[in-house]
């Protein structure tokens, strides 16, 4: 299990928080996700043998948000 923090653009309210956290935790291998709305970031705990940062990025972008490198 490892953790990373992704920078996410476009989150404005609690619906955005739920969308991003939900998209991440639905992915196999993602254990926990916690959005910081003011910091425009999401901290993620995941199993790197199961899921990649690229897959997490895609899941967030599918919800309509941009992930910055």
């Amino acid at each position: 299990m490892t953790t990373t923090t992704l920078n996410v653009k476009g989150m404005t309210c609690n619906h955005c928080v739920q969308a991003v956290e939900g998209a991440l935790t639905e992915l196999s291998g993602v254990e926990r996700a916690l959005v910081d709305l003011k910091a425009n970031s999401v901290a993620v705990e995941y199993d790197e043998s199961v899921v990649t940062v690229e897959q997490m990025t895609e899941a967030i972008e599918d919800q309509g948000y941009d992930v910055e490198a």
Copy 2:
């Protein structure tokens, strides 16, 4: 409920992660805490009518870690 991300110095391993997350989630008003070990940060979801950033900082410092402003 609101979220913040605190910068924590001195966390080196999963025992540190457990100590910091545990100290935070034991506080009344703290809903969730997720440490990013590589980023030296902890994202916290909390009820600002119940617990303050100062109290969270103290709880982390009591575990032997420094919180940077």
